[in-house]
């Protein structure tokens, strides 16, 4: 139990898993699944800062992911940019865009905020689908491999270390942030906005900040995963993908960084297990979301932690 509670205990466990997992992964297919878990987990960790900690919903984060992916794809394949430069531009561009839309959007609360972010995500998705001269439209587009200072990761097993390291970094940064004055301010905005304001917290600025940060997490992952998969479609920016990302955060546990990682792992593995039910995937996601809201409203990790704590006292 102490492992989950101490500051870096959880991170150490996660690092051990990342290090040891390759020993049991039999082939590239499994490495690919692991990579996609890490990709989703990084986005979920970022989104959890927004949803779980700051208490703001976004149903449009796949849009930022898609924008990151397409910016990288277009700049590298159409204009011959280096992947790193394209990725930085994608991150900065998405940051600027998120900053621009955040202020008006985050004035809204609850269902209205959900609707606005949903609309925003849809706009991105429609633009990516329709600007076929640039994006290849619904057919998607090919993306050249990643390359950094002459090194380019090839194959799932090499990419595994890239994504594994990034996941650990993302979790470390998120843990640091949450346990700092900035992180407490974000959580206070969730807990009581008026109390936060009276304590001197500029609530709007903090909401904008966390919105931008979570969007940048998504954009960076979008860029990198586009290079990894070598091919992207507008489906990445779709509403359904946004819902999937939110589901990861909610199931794993709102306001729990490791919960977001576990939620991402579960929802990435699920389609592999349910591959026979592909047409019903969304129905199953919906069912899981509903069931977890009813039986584990706080999500897996916080519920488990509460249960263990109660057991420890008994």
């Amino acid at each position: 139990m102490n492992v989950l509670n101490s500051r870096y205990g959880g991170l150490a466990v996660l690092a051990a898993i990342v290090l040891l997992l390759p020993l049991v992964l039999p082939n590239n297919y499994y490495f690919d699944v692991a990579n996609r878990i890490a990709i989703n987990a990084i986005v979920a960790v970022g989104l959890n800062l927004l949803i779980g900690y700051a208490g703001q919903i976004s149903l449009g984060h796949a849009g930022f992911l898609g924008l990151g992916a397409y910016t990288s794809a277009i700049l590298t394949s159409n204009y011959g940019w280096s992947p790193l430069a394209a990725m930085l531009v994608a991150a900065l561009g998405v940051a600027a865009l998120a900053f621009l839309v955040a202020r008006p959007i985050l004035r809204l609360k609850g269902h209205y905020l959900a609707m606005a972010t949903l609309g925003l995500g849809m706009i991105f998705s429609i633009v990516l689908t329709n600007e076929s001269a640039l994006t290849g439209g619904p057919d998607g587009m090919a993306v050249p491999g990643f390359e950094l200072l002459g090194w380019s990761p090839q194959g799932e097993a090499v990419w595994y270390w890239v994504f594994g390291a990034l996941l650990l970094a993302a979790v470390w940064l998120a843990l640091n942030l949450i346990d700092s004055p900035v992180g407490r301010a974000l959580r206070a905005v969730h807990g009581s906005e008026v109390a936060a304001a009276v304590a001197g917290i500029d609530t709007t600025s903090y909401k904008v900040l966390v919105f931008v940060v979570s969007a940048v997490f998504a954009a960076l992952v979008g860029s990198l995963s586009a290079h990894y998969t070598g091919f992207i479609t507008p489906g990445q920016a779709s509403f359904l993908h946004s819902v999937e990302l939110v589901t990861m955060v909610v199931i794993g546990g709102m306001a729990s960084t490791f919960g977001a990682v576990i939620g991402a792992a579960l929802l990435t593995l699920l389609p592999q297990v349910l591959s026979g039910l592909e047409d019903f995937e969304m129905v199953v996601f919906g069912l899981i979301l509903m069931t977890s809201m009813i039986f584990l409203p706080r999500g897996l990790v916080p519920s488990l932690r509460g249960w263990l704590a109660a057991k420890g006292r008994a």
Partner: protein
């Protein structure tokens, strides 16, 4: 004596309801003031106006000579104003100690990048802040909840936790909105003592309170509101003898 806060012809209407109408009064530095009046007299609205939660419909609020009417609460916090709430505003997603630490927000290093990297100055600042927050919880008398989550604390302790959070901001002027509401006589007596201690530290205190014993005991100046208007202002003795006040509380003879 210098006026720390001057309220001039302050009004607030909600649609056709005039919650506060042309109220003027001054708050003297270092004194304990009380705002009293029957339910619905506009006391909490007045607090919400002064602390920036509501925007005034008309009138002026001057803090240390500067016009602050219409500024948001976080700007007022920067100018040394803090408050508690009648209906608790506790962050139940934080621990008790973190709730108090929130109060010290403006005194801490708020750099985002340093927070991400867990810079040593952040760690040091937080450690000192945590210790100070624990001291404040002892100070207001909820020391036994230092290790608790906020959502496991009883009502009386949460009222004190709000006071501790407000004190963590090290305010010059502190507004307490019905700090004794819902407390039993023993707790009220302890609260009386806490407010005395706070005032003795030189913090200017303004409280809204229904407990007349507490009000008469603590305050040097009293403002009486009725139907959103100022009914009387003065020392406890003056207010007690004022026929208008007696009429408002007991009904006209």
């Amino acid at each position: 004596m210098a006026a720390l806060l001057e309220i001039e012809k302050l009004s607030k209407s909600f649609g056709g309801v005039h919650a506060v109408q042309e109220v003027s009064f001054t708050v003297q530095k270092g004194l304990v003031h009380a705002v009293i009046g029957p339910n619905g007299a506009g006391k909490t609205t007045l607090f919400n106006l002064i602390s920036g939660v509501y925007e005034p419909s008309a009138g002026h609020i001057r803090l240390k000579g500067e016009e602050v009417g219409g500024l948001p609460p976080n700007k007022l916090a920067e100018r040394g104003l803090s408050r508690t709430f009648q209906n608790l505003q506790i962050c139940f997603n934080l621990s008790a100690l973190e709730n108090v630490m929130i109060g010290a927000h403006l005194r801490l290093d708020r750099s985002f990048v340093k927070a991400l990297l867990r810079w040593p100055t952040i760690t040091r600042g937080d450690r000192a802040c945590r210790e100070h927050a624990a001291e404040l919880m002892e100070y207001v008398g909820c020391g036994k909840y230092i290790g608790s989550e906020a959502d496991g604390m009883p009502y009386g302790a949460l009222k004190r936790l709000e006071v501790a959070r407000a004190l963590a901001a090290e305010p010059e002027i502190l507004f307490l909105d019905e700090p004794a509401a819902g407390l039993n006589p023993t707790e009220t007596a302890e609260l009386d003592e806490v407010i005395h201690k706070i005032a003795a530290r030189g913090v200017t205190v303004v409280l809204v309170e229904h407990d007349m014993k507490l009000v008469m005991n603590l305050s040097q100046r009293i403002l009486v509101l009725d139907y959103g208007r100022k009914l009387a202002e003065g020392t406890p003795g003056e207010v007690r003898a004022n026929p208008d006040v007696i009429a408002a509380y007991l009904g006209a003879a």
